[in-house]
Symmetry: C2
Subunit: 217 residues, 2 copies
DNA sequence: ACACATACTAGTCACATGGATAGTTATATA
DNA sequence: TATATAACTATCCATGTGACTAGTATGTGT
């Protein structure tokens, strides 16, 4: 049994290595990235495979054969989004300063990067609203998203508390929950307006509230 | 000119009075209410006219002739939602107590009424997310919604400040903005889970934060 | 009882949807 | 250069969409 399996695996790896096929018009990475932007802007149900073909260069044939169809491509977009979000955009400040947290909110309303897409809110929030709780695959991604944001704020506030930046009875977990709600609200606000700047007042207010948490001993 | 207009108005009123027609299976009010529940749960693009017919009793014929089609019915649903929301559910506490505001958030996570629909979040938030900023009619309703909530919180906090419940340098407008973001976040959280109770922790944390605003002179 | 306005049923319409297929073309390896 | 592999183009398909149209049923005021 073991030998049979090893032979099969060997064949597979050879098969993968010897690839004498035509190459894709658009490579997988950029394909998923541009699909992501489309889903981000228009949502799932409002985006057709023909438009995907037109605007991304993914032929409807390839969409089926190598991406598995519209839904799988959508899920890949969600995963790609979460990966980059976790790396570059999610709250991740270990410096223990309240300012850094406040800045995170203010930066959301005037982003230096990707202003063309970020004005459509947050892809994952949009998606979980569209699918409600009725799709297991989307649910999984939503769970991951909320976990990233929640734990990000939690870690940030913990660091602040450890440095004595807030009073000793400051409830980290509870205020992380508050920041989570604020982050969601800010992104929905921006999507509703279609402009990042629409969140300026809200971000500023949240930032002020955060700064008021400062320990004035 | 004036007399002509008066004659026309007269005719119209007579025509409206003399109604020798067959009556609808479902009256307009309950029709819109059940349509509202469907849009609330499923969104606009995910709901077909055939399902509307099945579940509300509005025949597809009547949907066209007396409601003007799917989109107009949707807008009527939004308006009906906003009307009842403004009357019964929107933040509207003039008692000047912080507790009342905190309770409003906690009640959202364990509603006494309409638990079957409120677990789908807020119809207007869902809709403005689905349509992004790309539909004028929806935009108008979203504006009305945000205005209701924002001014509701503003009035509530103003009353608290006037009673001396918060310190004199408490920024009402800014904290109203914070509460707006929190309310949005809470509703999105609930929709994402499909259960009202999913917002319990968040609501509780927001409530605690509000109570911490109390003036301890 | 009659007339008439309107909602009803049932069927049709053009169109958009996601997906599938057959034949062609490009490309990386032997 | 020959060949195998896979992406390409161009149709085609079944299904679902919102809207429309005859013909029928029903209720109300004269």
């Amino acid at each position: 049994m073991d030998s049979y399996i090893s032979i099969r695996l060997d064949r597979l790896s050879i098969k993968k290595f010897i690839n004498m096929s035509r190459s894709k018009k658009v490579d997988t990475k950029t394909a998923i990235e541009s699909a992501m932007a489309l889903f981000w802007k228009q949502g799932y149900n409002n985006l057709g495979t023909r438009q995907i073909e037109e605007e991304t260069g993914i032929t409807r044939f390839t969409l089926q054969t190598s991406y598995g169809g519209k839904k799988p491509l959508f899920l890949m977009s969600l995963d790609a989004y979460l990966d980059t979000f976790e790396l570059y955009a999610a709250p991740n400040m270990a410096d223990g300063n309240l300012d850094t947290i406040a800045d995170w909110f203010n930066d959301r309303a005037k982003p230096k990067m990707f202003a063309e897409v970020t004005c459509y809110g947050c892809l994952l929030l949009n998606s979980t609203v569209e699918f409600a709780a009725q799709d297991v695959d989307v649910n999984l991604r939503a769970d991951r998203f909320f976990k990233i944001v929640r734990s990000g704020f939690h870690a940030a506030l913990s660091a602040v508390k450890q440095k004595g930046g807030v009073s000793s009875d400051f409830e980290v977990a509870e205020m992380a929950e508050v920041l989570l709600s604020a982050a969601i609200g800010l992104n929905i606000m921006i999507r509703s307006a279609g402009v990042n700047a629409a969140g300026k007042d809200m971000a500023q207010s949240i930032g002020k509230m955060i700064m008021n948490w400062q320990n004035d001993k």
